[in-house]
Amino acid sequence: MIRNDFRILLVDLTIRKAHIVDLPGRETYIGGSGLAAMLFEKYGDPGAGWSDPKQPLIFAIGPLTGYFPLMSKTVCGFLSPYHGQYAESHAGGRSALALRFADMDALVITGKASVPCVLSVGSRHMDIKDAPFLWGKDVFTTGKMLRHMLPGSGHRSILRIGPAGENGSAYACINVDTYRHFGRLGSGSVMGAKNLKAIAIVGDASFPLPEGKAYAKCFHEIYDQVTETTMMSKYHDLGTAGNVAALDALKSLPWRNLQATSDPGRIEGISGERFAKDMLLRNAACSGCPVGCIHIGYLREKFMADNRYLYRQVAYDYEPIFSLGSMLGFGDGFKVLGLMDAVEREGLDCMSGGVALAWATEALEKGLITEAETLTPLAFGEPEGYKAAIRHLGAATNEFYRLLAQGTLVAAKRYKGEDFACVLGQEMAGYATGETFFVSEALSFRHSHLDSSAYSADQKAQDKDAAKIVAGFVKDEASRCVLTSMVGCLFARGVFTEERMKDALNSLGYQGVAANLSQAGEAIQKLRWRLRMRTGLNPMAAKIPKRYAEVVTWKGPIDTVYMEQLRQAYAARLLELGREEGLE
């Protein structure tokens, strides 16, 4: 519903009670990213660890959620098991509309249940069901069982974790409605630490529309732009997978643990074009998004003699094709789908999982570890070993996998091999585009390629002016903070210009928010950095491993002097952004 205060459902799993709180702050914190940060500041304890039961797990939507197309994302805020600091992860599926129609701006979960449980919330219910029988079950089995246990089919969102989240992996994801994820930085383990196997959000309320004609007019302008222009077609057509061949051609696609940035012999087998031609089964969409960027591939596996087959459906995107494909040396999309399926089952983040195994493969090649650690042979391009390793990673079978599941650098420190750990704040995203991206991902707030446009900046010739580039990062982040507070899909950033967001807000009666947008963006940005610094971030200490200095892109070798200048300039600027207010 349209309201100025934030309406928050606060669930305490320890005492099994929930209550509604109304909080002011809309004009400064908007919703989404801003609201999650505001709630973490209020309910989180920067001095306690990520697995402390009192730490909040936050899911927040924004003022435009459900009212406009592509306003289809939820922001998850939590203390990350990866780096122990405040983190944010975004996902779509049905989660955002489910929260909207459950009539809450955010769901905040604190405490720890005495036994594994499932939380179900809606506009008129709150229920905590004991579910010890689900503990240890993989993501697929859990999903099947939940569908029968929970109310509201079609108009609910189901968030669940797999073994990785139960076992405290630093990069366990939360699976959202089967094909989407709160992927990065370990939100799945925060659920696990709360003994919370799954959350159902049932969207069972409906609301009156805003008075007047402005809303209908604004809706149609946006809808037409989204569906009738070519603006969104790249996401619709090949999907993000369309970038795979393009990045390879630019010598910017990481192959075999970033030992190469292009592989002309293999690229054809994993390109977005190849996936669409041979593997694409159908598309799906987040609720409220007519673009339908989700691409679902078809995996057919022979499991027994006499032509006994089973089939599975696996969502693919650019990122898993990179992390479980090129990064692991595959030139066959079907094999990559098989690994995506295995990662999905364990509830691991696909990017971190793939990049961690790429490091392990090279470490094994170099003799830093042996099969006594990996328990299975690992070799680039060989799927069976990786499938076994993914199970070990989810289960944290031995000391080696336990450390690797805490982050590639954790294992790399123990077994040596930090130089070739492809970690930029977390296991890298798939853009070996150059200095700008490496520095951006190593230092940016989410350590995500979506924090700034650095990877596309790298793809054009640019002057090496560190101060200018850093100013660009900071400005870009503030404007993305606005969009991720609405909460819009970042793919829609071309449609939702600042003017358009203002129109949309005004049409819903949020004049105050509309008038304060850019100031709010900057305030949210600063609050997020303050939270990270309060929880331990020192941007000056961020490292870029040696492997990145060895990369050759379309521009030639990396300019390490410039990369270091840029790293220092950005880190210094972040220190300013995260400075506590009043301490000038």
Binding site: R124, H155, D204, F207, R282, A284, P290, G292
Partner: protein, 144 residues
């Protein structure tokens, strides 16, 4: 009379633009549920989507069950007209519909498809159509 059909649901991506459009344009609500058409996954999301929507029974049992005349048969081709002013929210139509095409909100107001076709242009995959009965789904579009 033209009738609304969810004819090509194999193409559906589950975006729920249709339900949102029906709620917004016909019922003046923001909702993905209190709408003439509702989208659910058919037996778990991995097997695709299905639509809950009126099949335009002729004669319509929901209208027969309605004690006040709030629902009455359309002039021809089945389905119903609705006069909300007459509705006493007894829920008899909901029970009478053989395919669960009528949904109620928290105040027990019933919602069903009135075969107006306003949701049709919102479907990005052309799953929906307003057609003369017996002629629906005969146009199979060929992809380029």
């Amino acid at each position: 009379m033209k009738t609304f059909f969810a004819s090509r649901m194999e193409r559906c991506i589950g975006c729920q633009s249709c339900s949102l459009a029906c709620a917004r344009l016909v019922h003046k609500r923001l909702s993905w549920h209190t709408a003439g058409i509702r989208i659910g996954s058919s037996g778990g999301i991995s097997t695709g989507f299905e639509a809950r929507v009126c099949l335009a029974c002729d004669p319509p049992p929901c209208a027969a069950a309605c004690p006040t005349g709030s629902l009455s048969p359309r002039k021809e081709d089945g389905g119903v007209k609705q006069d909300r002013k007459l509705c006493i929210r007894c829920g008899k139509c909901v029970a009478a519909c053989p395919v669960n095409a009528i949904v109620v909100d928290e105040l027990n107001n019933p919602y069903m498809c009135l075969h107006c076709g306003r949701c049709v242009p919102y479907c990005p995959h052309d799953c929906l159509e307003l057609a003369v009965k017996g002629q629906a789904n005969f146009v199979q579009e060929v992809a380029e």
